[in-house]
Symmetry: C2
Subunit: 227 residues, 2 copies
DNA sequence: ACAAATTTAGACAGGCTTGTCCAATTCGTC
DNA sequence: GACGAATTGGACAAGCCTGTCTAAATTTGT
């Protein structure tokens, strides 16, 4: 044990550490180059591992790809549900709380490494692995929307919002909050913190304009005065 | 000239007809297989042309790819601006007119062959051809949003809507109207006419809830606060 | 109908990639 | 320190793909 070595060097890594290292590198290369363009040698090099080790761990290219997708799916879902758990059920300032939630959602689930990679793989290879991505679809967006819809329904029940169909509202919330980031996402870029905040702010304001509780003008005025 | 042949057979096609045939087939194959996975032999076969003809017309694979993207970009933009020209400037029934417009937009620009193909190519290869897609970005979304924003501003000016920032409203309109189609788009699928209509209906209703003209001072204040 | 231009099929070299095999080395653990 | 497992680097065959070249067939324009 000689801990005095340079922090940039990870001299020996465990078996398991190499497995994840390979999967991480593979995710990066598959995304950058596409499935067909991805080169096992490059993945091995990027993982700091020999090509043979890649084959030892994952068998062949296709199995490696499946492992990558499963890994990303799992981590993304975990992040999404962790973030949804922070939904403002008892908002003190509805607008500010929803904006903060939207920013968290973006930062932790959609703009982060896993989110961007998974999205790109789904877009690029979704047609080639229908069953694999059908699995993602059920576990990911399906449950995300349900969970989010339940939270919005709760806000509506508590009198903070006036919502017709919570499922529709949940999907529209996500769409609005990302409205200004679409192009950046499409080109595979990463929006700045400021862009995320602006899109979330504009999106939440419009969302609340549409779904804020409608009772009397006075109540509305009071609600707006909050902000 | 013997027009009596079977309609399924196009015995001799002109030079120019072969060029477009090749570009069309290439678009299809590039989308399905990705740039690296696309095979010139397959493109030639799908175009009903010999491999050498592909090279005669387009030089090499990369030039062919660029030709495909330019072709798709041009046709998509033409479709988009033709559709925007049908924006309901003098609506008789604002909700119905906007829903119909949204459906047209989807059907003619976003869900059709060109739209789906271009989107997929941008997503998959956007990182590899920054200048090519930067061109698309300016000519396409940039001008689309401006044009749409101008139409919404006009509706607001005519007293049909209460809008803070027309650019924001335009982007949010598109986001809302497509909110329920995102997953289908991601997986490269084609939504049914009914799905398009439902997403547009829900989106436009929410849009109008947020931006319908407000009379109360509080609402006006909120609208101004947007800017 | 004739001449020029285009298209075709096929062969071909060169390069790259996948996946396997193996001998030498290094690592984890006792 | 020693043993077994994992890792490495390199060689290797097989296959695939791009891009070129050719000679023959076909189409187009006149």
């Amino acid at each position: 044990m000689k801990p005095g070595v340079s922090p940039d060097i990870f001299p020996p890594r465990s078996h398991e550490a190499k497995r994840v290292s390979v999967v991480d590198a593979a995710a990066s290369v598959f995304c950058r180059e596409g499935y067909a363009g991805a080169n096992i040698d490059l993945i091995a090099a990027e993982a700091g591992v020999s090509r043979q080790t890649v084959y030892n761990h994952h068998g062949d290219k296709e199995k490696l790809f499946v492992a990558v997708v499963r890994d990303l799916t799992e981590r993304c879902n975990a992040g999404i549900f962790a973030t949804i758990a922070s939904f403002p059920d008892q908002p003190t300032n509805l607008e500010a709380d929803l904006i903060a939630f939207a920013v968290r959602m973006n930062r932790n689930c959609i703009c982060n490494r896993d989110g961007r990679f998974l999205r790109k793989l789904i877009q690029a290879e979704g047609g080639r692995y229908p069953e694999l991505f059908a699995e993602w679809r059920e576990q990911g967006p399906g449950r995300t929307w349900s969970a989010l819809a339940a939270r919005f329904a709760r806000l509506a029940f508590a009198g903070h919002l006036s919502i017709g169909d919570p499922d529709v509202a949940a999907r529209q919330f996500l769409a609005l909050v990302n409205a200004e980031l679409q192009i950046t996402f499409m080109l595979g870029g990463v929006p700045t913190e400021e862009e995320v905040l602006r899109s979330a702010t504009n999106g939440v304001r419009t969302f609340l304009s549409a779904f804020a509780r409608r009772k009397s003008p006075a109540a509305k005025q009071a609600a707006l005065a909050h902000a």
